[in-house]
């Protein structure tokens, strides 16, 4: 056979490989002693060390989320010897039936469980633990393991903080760096900052003798890994203000958002009805009730809900009109109970007020007719060839105020709201078949526009800053946790800052000018120079939504607030008092005596039934 010499070569190769295997076996089994010592000690036991999860503080160092030690009881079924079931039940504050059931389970699955150590009871409190620890020696095979659980010393920001829960099989599939028994943040900051808060699980490996008793550390701890504690997070939230905001919003459905316009830091972010912090600690047992509640307390309205902004949007149109050169603050338009926008006499109604009005007064009195005129001049601007083109320009301007897209805050579950594109109208009315009258509602923030409460609060911050904003965020830089540079970057709107003063004067008058048809006098606080704008947004489900945005003080704004209360009627009825009380609390620290009645009314009234 040709090539048959190759069979010899191949056989030599076979011999070499087999000798390699045998040589290695000889080394492992006879020459190297270390494997034997390992094996003489029989076996290793791994003890997991859970790191403390990072704490969460408010902007002034008030602890919002900390850790409390609790204990899990572990069991190694193979080591369990006969014991007094009743005694163990008593020591662990549980029933003998429970223990029997567990032991039967372990027995049925004994071959699968083998020498594994399993969790017997979770999160027993320290009193029970003490009782058990005294008698632990009576129950071989059982032991305790300490771990931290979340503790909430201050009732503020349940929805914001979010909750943690133990990893499940599905989560583990996608996250190989977690192990069964680990916890992870499910919602809110706990989820958004999981990487910082989590820390690193460590372990100690012990050797076990032939009777399963724990002995010395394996190889003097050479393979031990120490746990790394999670990093602490400092939020921008003012715990006291947040707590006050939650009280104000108690019994109302909606959101209350406060921003420091100078930094974009969120001072308060309330979604009501929300989750109380004492629910968070034991979230699992409350989840069903909460998820079935018709008011959806798990849903964070402040960043996820989309509403028409209503009249607070008029400021945006007033600013765009000025920038486009089609509106001058001194221009007067008359309004006789509304604005007629079709030849057949269809009318967008307005309330009774003096006429004609200029821009300032139109904002002060929230005149619908005036802003229909403004919107018409914007959309019928001769600079543009078609309504569509003018509309696209208008939309671009609106979006520069942070509408129509996610602001990009560091808070999870932020949604974008919606400013419809011209394509949307092309599809609905066909291209070229829609003009200003078709979309007249946009003039006053109704119709297809949808915004989140966060975006509206951001609008207040923009006006306070005269034309720019920082992306609203909830986490401050702290040790080991740097601030994303995008949060220190100014975002300018497409409207020059010179056009803002007239609008601001209108907002100031709305609050501070009396006996002239101003819409927001209820927000007046002596000396604070609050500037505000009410809104009454139509809600197809029941009463109108009550809206108010404001900032204060006028010339050196410290806080910008948006309140959005569902089905509460006109803006002045509930949103205005709530937002102004929050401003007063923040700037003054307390509510002035003449406003105590107002505060009481707000605190006591419940608009929804739980």
């Amino acid at each position: 056979m040709e090539y048959s010499n190759r069979s010899t070569k191949l056989l030599i190769g076979l011999g070499v490989v087999l000798l390699l295997l045998l040589g290695r076996l000889f080394y492992v089994q006879i020459l190297n002693q270390s494997y034997k010592t390992d094996a003489d000690n029989n076996s290793m036991q791994r003890e997991t060390i859970y790191p403390p999860r990072g704490a969460i503080y408010d902007r002034n160092g008030v602890l919002l989320v900390g850790n409390r030690i609790c204990y899990d009881i572990l069991v190694t079924p193979k080591q369990v010897q006969e014991f007094d079931t009743l005694a163990l039940a008593q020591a662990l504050d549980t029933t003998a039936d429970f223990i029997r059931e567990r032991m039967e389970y372990y027995h049925n699955y004994r071959s699968r469980i083998g020498w594994q150590t399993l969790t017997f009871l979770k999160q027993i409190n320290s009193e029970t633990y003490m009782k058990f620890a005294e008698q632990e020696y009576l129950f071989p095979g059982f032991k305790s393991q300490a771990r931290g659980i979340r503790e909430y010393p201050f009732n503020a920001g349940g929805n914001l903080l979010g909750y943690i829960s133990e990893v499940n099989a599905e989560f583990l599939k996608d996250h190989p760096d977690y192990k069964p028994g680990d916890f992870y943040g499910r919602t809110g900051l706990e989820a958004a900052r999981e990487e910082d808060l989590r820390g690193k699980t460590g372990w100690h490996i012990y050797l076990r003798d032939s009777r399963g008793r724990q002995k010395a550390p394996y190889r003097n701890g050479e393979f031990d890994v120490e746990a790394v504690p999670g990093k602490d997070i400092t939020t921008t939230i003012d715990a006291y203000l947040q707590s006050y905001g939650q009280k104000l919003m108690n019994g109302k459905k909606g959101s209350l958002v406060a921003i420091d316009p100078k930094t974009g830091e969120l001072l308060t972010i309330v979604s009501s009805p929300g989750i109380d912090v004492d629910v968070l600690a034991d979230f699992g047992s409350h989840y069903n009730t909460l998820s079935k509640n018709k008011h959806k307390p798990l849903y964070n309205r402040a960043v996820s809900a989309s509403y028409p902004p209503g009249s607070v949007f008029k400021m945006v149109n007033g600013l765009i009109g000025q920038q486009d050169g089609v509106l001058h603050p001194g221009m007067y338009y008359s309004c006789y109970g509304g604005y007629v926008y079709t030849s057949s006499g269809r009318k967008l109604g307005c309330h009774g007020h003096r006429t004609p009005l200029n821009l300032e007064d139109a904002i002060m009195m929230s005149c619908n007719g005036y802003f229909c005129h403004v919107m018409r001049t914007i959309l019928e601007n001769p600079k543009y060839e078609s309504t569509e083109e003018a509309y696209n320009h208008w939309r671009e301007m609106v979006c520069s105020f942070g509408f129509g897209g996610r602001l990009g805050s560091d808070f999870p579950s932020e949604l974008s709201g919606n400013i419809p594109t011209s394509d949307f109208y092309n599809k609905r009315y066909h291209k070229g078949h829609w003009r200003f009258p078709t979309i007249v509602s946009l003039s006053i923030g109704q119709g297809e526009i949808l915004t989140t409460p966060l975006q509206i609060a951001n609008l207040a911050a923009i006006i306070a800053n005269r034309g720019y904003y920082y992306i609203p965020h909830v986490v401050k830089a702290s040790e080991g946790v740097p601030l994303d540079p995008k949060f220190t970057e100014r975002h300018y709107t497409l409207v020059d800052s010179t056009y803002f003063p007239s609008v601001i004067r209108g907002m100031w008058k709305a609050v501070n000018q009396f006996d002239d048809g101003a819409t927001a006098n209820v927000a007046y606080v002596r000396g604070l120079n609050i500037c505000g704008k009410t809104g009454t947004a139509q809600n197809p489900h029941g009463k109108d939504n009550s809206v108010f945005v404001c900032f204060a003080p006028k010339d050196d704004p410290q806080i910008a607030v948006a309140a959005y209360i569902e089905n509460a009627g006109s803006g002045a009825s509930w949103a205005t008092p709530i937002a102004s009380l929050l401003v007063e609390k923040y700037l003054r620290g307390e509510i002035s005596p003449e406003r105590k009645d107002l505060e009481n009314r707000v605190l006591r009234t419940k608009l929804i039934r739980q």
């Binding site: 069979s7 056989l11 076979l14 089994q29 393979f223």
Partner: protein, 430 residues
């Protein structure tokens, strides 16, 4: 036709050495499966709730299969059926990707009620048969691109399907077929190139890419100087020089490809296993856990082991997949180096005798098929035992005839007994 041919007796035609080794390995495997199971759960060796009892059933089935192949099915049946069988099995290999349930990330198991089987096991048989059939054609020469390509294609199709099933480790077994091609005349350069690739891969990962690159270049220069001084003919010189430059270029390309393959083509767990093997990562509790525990178990066996059923490491259930992929741990711990030697020698003899019989065969089909069987056994042996003692990365393939598992036992039985039957035909009619 049996009338005219002077028939030699059963005792003379069947290679009983192979049959006896087959039985010994299988029974020894069964005893060790029992030891592995028994340590967890005291039970009888025939207890059907556990792997040892079930293995008794598989062994019964395997013996039936052996008898069927040896005495009932005509040996030439295999060559006639190899093409459709190859096609059908290839189809199964592809189908299983879509129809199988996910077992630890791989899609290679068909599940029909309580019965599970892996078409990759069958494919070793059909690939061997088809390869033998293609290469035993009188006009086939292991030269000329068309022939080489055909042979490689026969091997490569199941490999691709198996890789698509995320069973990259199992696909490695097919690399053994290259040895068969080498026996049939494939240029030794191919083996050298493959060897060089493995060497460079390991070297690049353990040291630095420029070390490997330097090695390639220095090696090329040394080789060139060495050869060019010995060869006189100008034409030959030029050819050799061109070849060396080509190999150097290929080597450099491999060095740079390593990084890409390692970081992009391999999955994380495969990367991890290779890193642990090369000592780039110490992880005795994570990825290195299996190997570490397996080494402790085997290493603690010493010269003569702790005695049957007296293992402690395997007893405590520290070694994973004890009765299947890591069955060799039980041998190492309870039977010591002596037992390991016995197992390795048994496999060595089995392979050696199969090769010996193959070389004696007059039909090329029998010879090539025999080499395929030997190559499969060899790859499984080396990868599996190599894995338990930390010579190879953790690749989940069974120790042939030894590990628990019906589909593996049966397909190796069929694989080996087809050869014994073919070999018997040789002796019967020639």
């Amino acid at each position: 036709m049996t009338e005219e041919t002077p028939l030699r007796s059963l005792g003379h035609t069947v290679d009983w050495r192979l049959v006896i080794l087959y039985l010994l390995i299988m029974l020894f495997g069964w005893l060790n499966i029992y030891a592995a199971v028994q340590s967890m759960e005291p039970s009888g060796i025939f207890d059907l709730r556990y792997n040892c009892g079930k293995q008794a059933l598989w062994i019964g089935g395997a013996l039936l299969l052996a008898v069927l192949i040896l005495f009932i099915i005509k040996p030439y049946f295999w060559e006639s059926v190899c093409r459709p069988a190859y096609g059908v099995v290839l189809m199964l290999l592809v189908l299983v990707i879509f129809l199988s349930s996910n077992v630890k990330g791989s899609h290679s198991w068909f599940e029909l009620g309580p019965v599970k089987f892996q078409p990759a096991e069958l494919s070793k048989i059909t690939t061997s048969l088809l390869l033998a059939s293609v290469m035993s054609k009188p006009e086939f020469r292991m030269s000329g691109w068309k022939n080489i390509l055909t042979a490689f294609l026969v091997i490569a199709l199941p490999i691709l399907a198996i890789i698509a099933e995320s069973e990259t480790g199992s696909a490695l077994v097919y690399a053994g077929f290259v040895l068969v091609l080498y026996r049939e005349g494939l240029s030794g350069w191919w083996l050298g190139l493959a060897g060089m690739f493995v060497l460079l891969f390991v070297l690049t990962l353990t040291t630095h890419w420029w070390v490997s690159l330097a090695l390639v270049l220095v090696g090329a220069v040394v080789y060139a100087v060495y050869y060019l001084r010995r060869v006189q003919s100008q034409r030959l010189r030029r050819q050799i020089l061109a070849l060396i430059v080509l190999v150097a270029m290929a080597g450099s390309a491999m060095v740079f490809a390593t990084d890409f393959i390692f970081h992009h083509a391999l999955k994380d767990h495969q990367k991890g296993r290779i890193e642990v093997l090369l000592g780039l990562r110490e992880d005795p509790q994570g990825l290195g856990y299996n190997v570490h525990q397996s080494l402790i178990a085997i290493g603690s066996g010493g010269m003569f082991g702790k005695g049957y059923l007296n293992g402690t490491q395997t007893t405590y259930g520290f070694v994973p997949e004890q009765s299947t992929d890591f069955i060799f741990c039980t041998v190492g711990e309870e039977w010591g180096f002596f037992g390991s030697l016995l197992v390795v020698v048994m496999y060595g003899l089995l392979i050696f005798w199969i090769v010996q019989d193959s070389e004696r065969a007059r039909s090329s089909f029998t010879r090539i098929y025999g080499y395929c069987v030997a190559a499969c056994l060899f790859m499984h042996l080396f990868i599996n035992i190599g894995m338990t003692i930390g010579l190879m990365p953790v690749i989940g393939i069974p120790l042939p005839l030894f590990s628990y598992g019906g589909s593996s036992l049966w397909s190796f039985t069929v694989l080996i007994f087809i050869f014994i039957a073919l070999d018997r035909m040789e002796k019967k009619y020639f």
